[in-house]
Structures are given as C-alpha cells and as structure tokens.
C-alpha cells in the first residue's frame, strides 16, 4: 500500500521569478521510491515545468546532486522511506542556480580540468613498450581517490568553498592527489603550484564534511591533509633551492 508524502521543492525559473520560492507536491510512494523517482513522478504527473538533472539512476554518473533537508545527496541514492517527516529539496548549495534543481557547475569543472587530471609522462609510451606494472600497494595509494564521480556534493558541503569560491575545493584536490600518487605519472611538478597555493590545500581547515557526504566513500579531506604534507615538503625543498 502506498503512502503520500508532502515533498517541498525549491523552484526558480529565471525568466519568471525574481528569486527562488518553495512549491509543495503530494507524492504517493512505496518504500523503494528514490528521490529521483519522486521528481520523475512530479514531472510526469503533476508539473511538467520542473527541471532537474539526472542520467544513470545508479550513483555512477553524478548528475542528480541536490540538497535534501539541507544535506547534499544524490537523488538516486536517497529514499523517501528515510524521511517520514517529509522532505525539502533544493538545488546543490554553493553553486549558482540555473533553473529549479539545475545548478551551473562550470567553475567546478574548470577546477577539475585545471589540475591536469590525467597521467603525464616525460616521454610518450607506445603500446610496444608494454604495460606499466604496478603493485597492489602502489595502486592502493590512489585507488579510492579515483572513485570520484564528479557529482559536486563535496563542494556543496565545503564551508571554505562556500566562503570563497577561489578555493580549489575537495574533489579537485583529491583528484590532484590521485594523479600525483600514481606511480605511472611523472607530472607532479606541473600540479604542485595548485597544491601549494592558499587556494589549494592550504585553503582547507579540515572540517571534513566533504568526506561525510561523499556518495562513493572517497575521503577528499584525507587527500587534502596528505597534500599538505606534500606541499610542506615542497616548501622546505624550495627554501633550500631558492634559485628555482
């Protein structure tokens, strides 16, 4: 038997509204229903004007990030049954709202791209060179940080990014750490400037909420603290070699 839940959604249509406002919908639900399915029900049955982003429905694509009762969540991985008191859904915090639950992620994407998130080799390898062998231990150095799906929940959680969006932020710094600690990579020097800056690892005060909200159990806060160790070593080396 299905129950009905009052779902409140923050709406914003830039051509009509001066500012976001709340709209309430009654959604019949069963215990299997995800927030994403509730939004689909609203769009199909109640209000076709509602906008939201989604794709895979299985916590892989990272499209459906949103605030549920003030906490950054993936719509597909959050279920109505866990909110018997009702739910309030908003666009992801700390990002400019484009429309309803759709946010502008261009700053986030630019930061991910800036840190060169790919393996850099001093000399290009060809298939004839064979595989790059890595031990399980070497892989463990970076594996969890490669699980990021770029959903942006950690940026919505990060108080530092909220205060100053020049901060590189959790996902970009975790990705930087991921490539700097891959034994196949030789591009660490090209990434250190991002890590060493005030807007890099040093902009983090280790609140740790980024790691709490990550839907893929990545620990960006740990990556940033390890990045601080790397950056501190780099600082001492730079002091000893002032010419460079």
């Amino acid at each position: 038997m299905s129950q009905v839940m009052k779902v409140e959604i923050q709406r914003y249509r830039p051509e009509l509204d001066k500012e976001p406002f709340w709209q309430s919908y009654d959604v019949p639900y069963t215990k299997e229903m995800s927030v994403l399915e509730a939004l689909a029900y609203i769009k199909d049955e109640l209000d076709p004007t509602l906008s939201y982003r989604w794709s895979c429905r299985m916590a892989i694509c990272g499209s459906c990030g949103m605030m549920v009762n003030g906490v950054p969540k993936l719509g597909c991985k959050t279920f109505l049954r866990d909110y018997p008191q009702g739910m309030k859904i908003e666009a992801l915090a700390n990002f400019p709202i484009e429309r309803d639950l759709v946010v502008d992620m261009s700053d986030f994407i630019a930061k991910l791209e800036a840190i060169k998130p790919y393996i850099i080799r001093e000399t290009e390898q060809t298939p004839e060179d064979g595989c790059s062998i890595q031990t399980p231990k070497e892989m463990e150095q970076y594996r969890q940080f490669s699980m990021c799906i770029n959903c942006g929940l950690c940026y919505a959680a990060c108080p530092q990014y909220g205060l100053n969006d020049k901060f590189m932020g959790p996902a970009a710094l975790a990705l930087l750490h991921r490539y700097n600690n891959d034994t196949r990579d030789e591009g660490k020097e090209e990434r250190m400037a991002f890590l060493n800056a005030h807007e890099g690892a040093w902009g983090c005060t280790f609140v740790g909420y980024c790691s709490d909200v990550c839907p893929k159990k990545v620990d960006p806060a740990a990556a940033i603290q390890l990045g601080k160790v790397d950056s501190a070593k780099d600082y001492v080396i730079a002091m000893l070699k002032p010419g460079e």
Binding site: P159, L163, A193, F194, N196, A197, H198, E199, G200, W202, T205, V207, K228, S231, A232, Y235, V236, A238
Partner: protein, 111 residues
Amino acid sequence: MKRSNEPVFWGLFGAGGMVAALLTPVLILITGILAPMGAVDFSFARVDAFASNILGGLIIWAAVSFPLWLSLHRLYHCLHDFGVHAGNGVKAAFYGAAALGTVAAAYLLLF
C-alpha cells in the same frame, strides 16, 4: 598561483598537536590531580631543580610553546570558519602572541 607561507604555521601547529596529545594529558594528571592530592612531591625546590636543568627546561619549553602555536593557529582558522575574515592584522596578533609566548618561555627557562 602564489605559494602560500602556511606550511610554516601548519608545521608548528602539527608539532603543537603532537606535544599536546602526548605531553599535556600527563602534565594535567601530574599538576592538576596528583600534586593537589599530595600523591607526588611537587615542592618548589624540586620543580625549580627540574626546570633549571637544561633538559628539563627544554621539556617545559616544548610543553608550553608548541601548544601555543597549535591553539592560536586553530583559533585563527576557526574565526574564518565562523565567517570572521580577520585579515593580516589579526593574523599577526595571533601568531605574534604565540611567538611572544615561545620567546618568553625560552628566556625564563633557558637563560
């Protein structure tokens, strides 16, 4: 992007964290609980002798100065977390206080 000078303060903060975690609980136990109970001999002459020894002086100096860097660094960053963007004047005052405490403790204990 400009290199941050934060590693210096973070290094002292980290050292302070280590000292506070390892030494402070023991010091609280000795000076705050065991000494008032009379369980340890905490007479002036004994403590003075300990502090006058160069090794004893260094230990007390480390126990006083590094946690100062730890706590003032943490307080300074808490201000920022609470939305008070204090700027360089307050930063200088916070770290200046830690530096002053470090120098004063060194002067009193080691010279």
